[in-house]
């Protein structure tokens, strides 16, 4: 079983819909949480970066972290066709009190927003 599980989708929604993307994790050492968007054959683009439980909003994007349930979510409001991409959750853990910084990714969710 992977340390980070993400619904692979694919997810297809109409333009303007609210999209919910989710990841669960098993390693309590994960402390920093990120969401990346990746277009085909491009590098992952950082969307959100959080380190505490609760919500963080940036424009149409809201990242939610629940450390007690080991669950994170990304909500996209008013989705646009340009949001069509693969969305990857990623986490950083501390090991032995030292942060090494390596990202552990979920499998990615393929999202298509159709006009």
């Amino acid at each position: 079983q992977k340390e980070v599980e993400q619904d692979p989708g694919p997810l297809s929604v109409p333009e303007g819909a609210i999209v919910s993307l989710n990841c669960t994790y098993s390693n309590s050492a994960f402390q920093y949480f990120m969401w990346y968007r990746q277009y085909s054959r491009k590098g992952p683009e950082l969307l959100m970066y959080t380190y505490s439980s609760g919500n963080k909003e940036d424009g149409r994007f809201t990242a939610q972290v629940d450390k007690s349930s080991k669950y994170i979510s990304l909500f996209i409001r008013d989705s646009q066709p340009s949001d069509s991409a693969t969305y990857l959750c990623a986490m950083i853990s501390f090991a032995g009190g030292t942060s090494y910084g390596k990202l552990t990714f979920g499998q990615g969710t393929i999202l298509t927003v159709h006009p």
């Binding site: 590098g43 992952p44 910084g101 979920g106």
Partner: protein, 112 residues
């Protein structure tokens, strides 16, 4: 704003050849990470450097080596290439080991 630069963007090699991938981090970022992404896979961590010293190592084959230079750019050297090494190789940089990681556009390596 300046981004992470990777070169070359595409590379085609024969089996058993050697390849060198280069990464130029965002200015004032002293932490560099290398990831490998196979088709339809999520990126897998290979190795990282902080202040020119190796800080962590993931599932990197012994045939691969990397280093970070005095100007903070990094190079990933891959020898005795195998067909299974064909993948996208990403470099990411961060202002510190706990900070956001910003990815470059990647190098697509094809081994024939």
């Amino acid at each position: 704003a300046a981004g992470v630069i990777q070169s070359p963007r595409h590379l085609i090699k024969e089996k058993r050849e050697t390849a060198t991938l280069k990464c130029y981090p965002i200015p004032r970022h002293d932490t560099v990470y290398w990831y490998q992404q196979g088709p339809g896979q999520d990126p897998q961590f290979l190795i990282s450097f902080y202040e020119k010293m190796q800080s962590d190592k993931g599932s990197i084959p012994d045939r691969f080596s990397a280093q970070q230079f005095s100007d903070y750019h990094s190079e990933l050297n891959m020898s005795s290439l195998e067909l299974g090494d064909s993948a996208l190789y990403f470099c990411a940089s961060s202002p510190d080991p706990e900070g956001e990681q910003f990815f470059g556009p990647g190098t697509r390596l094809t081994v024939l």
